[in-house]
Amino acid sequence: MRMTLILAAALITAACTTPQRQPAEPTPRTGEDSASTAEPADERSAPETADPVEPAEDETRPPRPDDAEPERPAETATPPAPSEPIESAAETEAPAASQPEPAPDMKAGVQESIESDPQARPERNRLAISGRLMLSGGDAETSEAVVYFLPDAGAADRPQVQAREIREIVTRDKTLSPTVLAVSPGTQVRFPNDDPILHNLFSVSPENGFDLGVYGPGESPAVEFERPGVVNIYCNVHHDMHAHVLVVDTAWHTSPDSEGRFELAGLPPGPGVLHVWHRQSERWSRPIELPLAAPIDVTLPVTKPKLPPHRDKSGLPYNRRDRDPYR
């Protein structure tokens, strides 16, 4: 039965897709694919929760037992009304109702697309969101942002979320790469050490805390991120090393390119919340109703340093003053 549906979807896709349209996938990953070593798609599983849970992480202390059940931030639990300004971000999205209906090939920000992925639901037309992220007031890269869409809870077209995917954050020259990685819950992230020296990656994230211990060249320990949230990762040996994994409970996430352009494709029609997360800014969230009439431009002020303030895995400063306290 499943194979029949997949074949039917492929036939419909071939009949409906025009040459101008980008092949739509449920999980476009601009700038991330080089790090992906995804397992076969038939291991994907349905999401467990409808709401995102991404509480801020206290990076200056080790995890505690009572961190197991973090509070959900009000930002995502109760998204603001569309007409309200959201934080300090500027956006130029026009209300869909006030826009004239453009011709299909002129809809730069809203593209209809048809699922070509056999895992997606083949029987429905899909939508896309495109736009541009701009960062103001600081030294930051747009490619380190994550744009993701969460359809409203109970949406009939809730997508399947990839699971058991395997990704990599490589250590080389005392630097973690990529610096930002968005994954779905259940994704395993490997941390291969391509340096000739020892490292000790850890996170005190309440949802996904871990400590890889000291490991040497050529080793590749892994962590499976089960719960949505921000995972700030540091090295206990080298203070300046950092990376950030954003675990989002949706398959629709992407990172903008270096010019800030992004596109999420294969989206279902209907209400949901669009989020833009950047490690150097506050999260931007906005309820939207698909399809949209125009591209979304988002401007985020850079309010945080490139290297987040943090302590070592024991909760102590990295400063040299406590290296040898007895002499």
Partner: protein, 451 residues
């Protein structure tokens, strides 16, 4: 009695360890931080030293047989001029900790050429530090988590001492006032995250003299009792300083110390600040017998040979010291400043010291055994001065004790591997003699290994 004195730290340790085991044992065995941790290691230092040759005649009427062959006038002079390679330190270090409940620390020096106190005739094996601590103690500029405190018992550093040192040499203030450990009990309380107070009751360090450069100098050593002695090491250009204690002293009055401070740090601890006011009050003894010298310490030293050549303003036996020190950490920059005002038997003097150091991480090019070779380089500069606001006796064998000093230190530390570093530094001493400004400079290169 001497055996009893020398065995005191051992007996103290055994008793305290027993108390510690008994008191720390029942405490919350299921707490993660209550596990015993033992760390035993060693530290060794090798040096290349290049000392200027300087000699300052003194007016003390030494008899001809008290002077080296061919000399007709006594002098204070550079301890060991010229270029020398030396193994300056071999120490055993042991730490036993049980979370915030208990810690024991000892450092035993088998060779400590630069801290040999007060002369090269000091004992070879020295218990440099030995203390037991119940409770938690925070490193400087690290706010506490709520209320807490500690009790420390044994031979420990004074609470204002700069522990995170960036040069191997010491500034004038560090040498004069708080370089050496004292013996007694210390209490510390965290009044919330930022405020803290400390108090101590110790026997007090004896007052003696030493050169502020690497080697202390030999004054009053046994070889000087021989006719026309030819000591291997010279006197140095010494200053008055608080020397190392000799053991438990039942006779003297105890010294009281107190401190109050404020500390602040951002959440990461990378920007931190600590300001502490401190003071000590005690009494000088008539004399203190120090191993390695026939000169007596405290008032005996201030009264000159045969107690016949005292400082003119010498009066009473009170010793008071007040000071302030500040530490700041701004990312990879470290700052330390200290001001001390002291009065010893009515002889006033003060000192100021300021040190700045930067750490620059180096790119990963080479490695050894999983560790980066040459991972960081750290330049450091230090200015220190000592103002002696009292006059010398008309006749004295030790005129430098009242000279005003300035000292500039500049150095560079290269981290070769974690625990292995190389420090090259230059000390520019400037002091006011009766004949004008003079100096006694020194290059010091130190290879330090602490695996």
């Amino acid at each position: 009695m001497k055996d009893a004195i020398r065995s005191f730290p051992i007996r103290l340790g055994l008793v305290s360890l027993t108390i510690a085991m008994a008191s720390a044992g029942p405490v919350a065995a299921d707490e993660p931080s209550s596990e015993w941790e033992i760390d035993i290691g060693f530290e060794t230092r090798m040096n290349f030293r290049d000392s200027d040759r300087n000699r300052f005649p003194v007016n003390f009427p030494f008899t001809p047989e008290m002077l080296p062959p061919g000399e007709s006038q006594g002098a204070i002079e550079t301890v060991e001029p010229g270029r020398h390679f030396e193994l300056s330190l071999v120490s055993l270090i042991a730490n036993i900790e049980r979370g915030d409940h208990f810690a024991a620390h000892t450092r035993i020096d088998f060779i400590d050429r630069h801290d040999r106190n007060p002369t090269s005739g000091d004992r070879r094996v020295d218990i440099d530090q030995f203390w037991l601590r119940w409770g938690r103690e925070f490193v400087p500029a690290l706010p506490a988590e709520g209320f807490g405190g500690y009790v420390k018992l044994g031979k420990f550093a004074k609470f204002e001492r700069q522990e995170d040192r960036h040069l191997e040499s010491y500034g004038l203030v560090s040498t004069a006032f708080n370089r050496f450990e004292d013996l007694g009990i210390e209490l510390g309380f965290d009044l919330g995250a930022n405020f803290y107070v400390k108090a101590s009751l110790t026997q007090g360090n004896p007052l003696f003299m030493r050169d502020p450069n690497a080697l202390a100098g030999d004054n009053g050593t046994e070889v000087l009792l021989r006719p026309n002695p030819e000591p291997a090491l010279n006197t140095g250009i010494p200053i008055l300083y608080d020397a190392e204690i000799e053991g438990l002293d039942f006779d003297g009055e105890p010294e009281f110390g107190a401190a109050a401070g404020y500390r602040f740090a951002d959440p990461s601890g990378q920007r931190a600040f600590d300001l502490m006011l401190f003071g000590y009050r005690g009494e000088l003894e008539e004399t203190v017998s120090l191993k390695g010298t026939f000169y007596g310490g405290d008032l005996d030293l201030l009264r000159g040979p045969a107690n016949a050549f005292p400082y003119p303003e010498l009066s009473g036996n009170d010793r008071e010291e007040y000071g302030i020190n500040a530490r700041a950490y701004i990312g990879d920059i470290s700052l330390f400043a200290q001001y001390v005002d002291q009065e010893i038997a009515s002889l006033p003097r003060s000192g100021f010291e300021l040190e700045a150091a930067w750490t620059f991480d180096l790119p990963l090019v080479w490695s050894y055994d999983g560790r980066q070779l040459f991972s960081a380089i750290q330049p450091a500069v230090r200015y220190s001065r000592l103002d002696n606001d009292f006059a010398n006796p008309e006749i004295t064998p030790f005129p430098s004790g009242a000279w005003d000093w300035e000292r500039y230190d500049i150095g560079l530390r290269l981290t070769i591997l974690p625990g292995l570093d190389l420090t090259a530094e230059y000390a520019d001493n400037r002091f006011e003699t009766a004949g004008g400004e003079a100096g006694n400079d020194e290059w010091l290169v130190t290879l330090r290994w602490r695996p």
